[in-house]
C-alpha cells in the first residue's frame, strides 16, 4: 500500500519533471524558429488581433472596476490618517506595480491562453499540423512562433490599458464621486510615480508574464492528446498552470525589483 503510493508520487513527479523538460525544449524551438514571425510580421499582427483585441473588452472593463474599488477602499483607509490627497498615489502605484500586470495577465490567461490551447490542440487533433509538416512548412515557425510573439507583444499593452482604465476608475470614484481634490490627486500621482522604478518594472513584469502564459498555452495545445477530452483537459490546465505561474513569478519579480525600497 505505502510502497504503491510512494511509487505513484515518484512516478507523477518524474512525469512532471519530464514535461517541464519538454516545455523548455519547446520554448527553445520557438526561439530558434522565430525568423518567420518577424520576416512575415503580418502573421504576428493577425495573431495579435486574435489574442490581443479579443481580450480588450474584458481587460478594459475589469480595469475600470478594479480602479473604482481601489478608489473606494483607498479613500476609506487614507481618510483615517487624514491623507486622502494621496489617493492618486495609492491608486496609480497599486495598478502600475502590481494589479495592472498581474490581473491583466490572469485575464489574458483565461481569455486568450485557453483559446490558443484549444486552437492548437484542435489543429493537431485534425491533423492540420501533420498536413503542414507534409507540405514542408514547419508548424513551429508558421503557427506557434507568431502566436508566441503576438502574446508577448500584446501583454504589456493590455496591462498598460488595464492600468490606465484603473486610474480613470479611481479618479471617477475618488474625485468625481467622493470629492477628493482633483489637483492634488493628479499632481501627487505624477510626482510619486517613478518611471524606471514603477512603470518600467511593471512593463518588465508583464513581458515576463506574457512569455510564461503564451509558452504554457502553446505547449499545452501542442502536447495535447489528439482527442476531444485531451484538448479540453489541456485547455483547463493552461488556465490553472499559467495563473499559478503568473502569481509565483510575480512574487519572485517583486522581491527582486522592490526589495529595500521605502
Amino acid at each position: 500500500m505505502l510502497k504503491e503510493s510512494i511509487a505513484r508520487v515518484g512516478n507523477r513527479t518524474l512525469q512532471g519533471v519530464g514535461r517541464i523538460g519538454f516545455a523548455v525544449r519547446f520554448f527553445v524551438a520557438i526561439m530558434l524558429h522565430s525568423g518567420t514571425a518577424f520576416r512575415r510580421f503580418g502573421l504576428t499582427i493577425r495573431e495579435m488581433y486574435f489574442s490581443g483585441v479579443q481580450s480588450l473588452v474584458i481587460i478594459l472593463v475589469s480595469g475600470l472596476f478594479v480602479g473604482m474599488v481601489l478608489g473606494l477602499q483607498g479613500y476609506e483607509t487614507l481618510q483615517t490618517y487624514g491623507s486622502e490627497d494621496a489617493l492618486g498615489i495609492l491608486v496609480a502605484m497599486s495598478l502600475v506595480r502590481e494589479l495592472g500586470p498581474v490581473v491583466a495577465a490572469l485575464l489574458f490567461a483565461s481569455r486568450a491562453g485557453s483559446a490558443i490551447t484549444a486552437e492548437i490542440g484542435l489543429m493537431k487533433a485534425t491533423e492540420q499540423l501533420s498536413a503542414m509538416e507534409m507540405m514542408a512548412v514547419d508548424p513551429i515557425a508558421r503557427v506557434v512562433a507568431p502566436r508566441f510573439w503576438a502574446g508577448v507583444i500584446s501583454m504589456p499593452l493590455l496591462a498598460a490599458l488595464f492600468s490606465a482604465m484603473g486610474i480613470f476608475g479611481g479618479y471617477l470614484v475618488g474625485v468625481q464621486l467622493i470629492g477628493v481634490d482633483e489637483g492634488s490627486f493628479w499632481s501627487q500621482m505624477q510626482s510619486a510615480v517613478d518611471f524606471e522604478r514603477d512603470i518600467l518594472n511593471g512593463v518588465i513584469k508583464s513581458v515576463v508574464f506574457g512569455i510564461a502564459i503564451t509558452t504554457i498555452a502553446l505547449f499545452e495545445g501542442y502536447d495535447a492528446p489528439p482527442t476531444a477530452e485531451g484538448v479540453s483537459g489541456a485547455t483547463t490546465r493552461t488556465v490553472v498552470t499559467s495563473s499559478l505561474t503568473v502569481l509565483a513569478l510575480d512574487f519572485v519579480l517583486t522581491a527582486f525589483m522592490f526589495r529595500g525600497l521605502s
Partner: protein, 270 residues
Amino acid sequence: MQHDNLVEIEDVAFDYGARPVLKGINLTAKRGQVIAIMGSSGCGKTTLLRLIGGQIKPCQGAVRVAGESLGELNQAGLYRLRRNMGMLFQFGALFTDMTVFDNVAFQLREHSDLPEDAIRDMVLMKLHAVGLRGAAHLMPAELSGGMARRVALARAIALDPQLVMYDEPFAGLDPISLGITGNLIRRLTDTLGLTSILVTHDVHESLKIVDYVYFVSEGVIVAEGTADDIRESDLSYVHQFVHGEAEGPVTFHYPAAPYVEDLRLGRQSA
C-alpha cells in the same frame, strides 16, 4: 542520377508501442505509375503512407524516396524532399481557419515568390480540376465530407509534386465524383509524369486506374500484381477482397477474446 523507382520500401517494420503494425514490408513505386495499397481496415495502410512521408521512422528496414534514405535525413533534408510530395490525408486535414482558396494556395505562398495573380490562376485551375472552382470562397466547415476531400486533393497537387499519396481518395464520394476523381488521378499521373500511391478500399474503381496493386494483411504484403493479375488471381485472400466476401482469410474483427466469452453467455445463472 534518375532513379527508376521513386519509392522503395525494404523490409520495413513498425510498431506503435507494443503492438506491431507492419512486420517486414517490401514495396516499390516506379516513376509514372499509379500503385494501390489495399487491405482491411486497420492493417496499417495509413501508417505506411506516414512512413513514406517521413512522419514516422521505421523500427527496422529502410524507406527510400528518390534514392534518399529517409532515416538518414535531417529536418531540412526531409523538408526539401517533401516539397516534391503531396499528401491527401484520410480526413482531409484542411486548415479550418482559411478559405478553400487559401488552403490550396497555402504551399504556393509558402514556397514560391509568385505574384498573387499567378497564384490565383494556379489555384483556380486546381480547384477546377476537382470541380470546386465555385466553392473557392467557402470555409472548410461549410463543405460536405466529399467536397472537403476533393479540396484536399487539389491542395495535395498544388505544387505539381513528383509523388502524391492519396489516403482513401474515394471514401464518401458519389459514383460520379468517384469516377471523375479516379480519372483525375490517372490523368495527373500521365500528363505530369508524377507517381501516385493510392490507399483505397474501392477495388473496382481503383483496378480501372492502377498499374500495380499491393495487398497488406497482418503486417506483410500477401499479394501483389498488376490490375489484371489481381482480377484473375485465385489467391483466396485476393478473391475474397475483390468480391467482397464475408468468409475467407481476411478477418473483419480486431483481435479480441472469443465473442461468447465476452458477452458472458457461458454464465447462465444470475
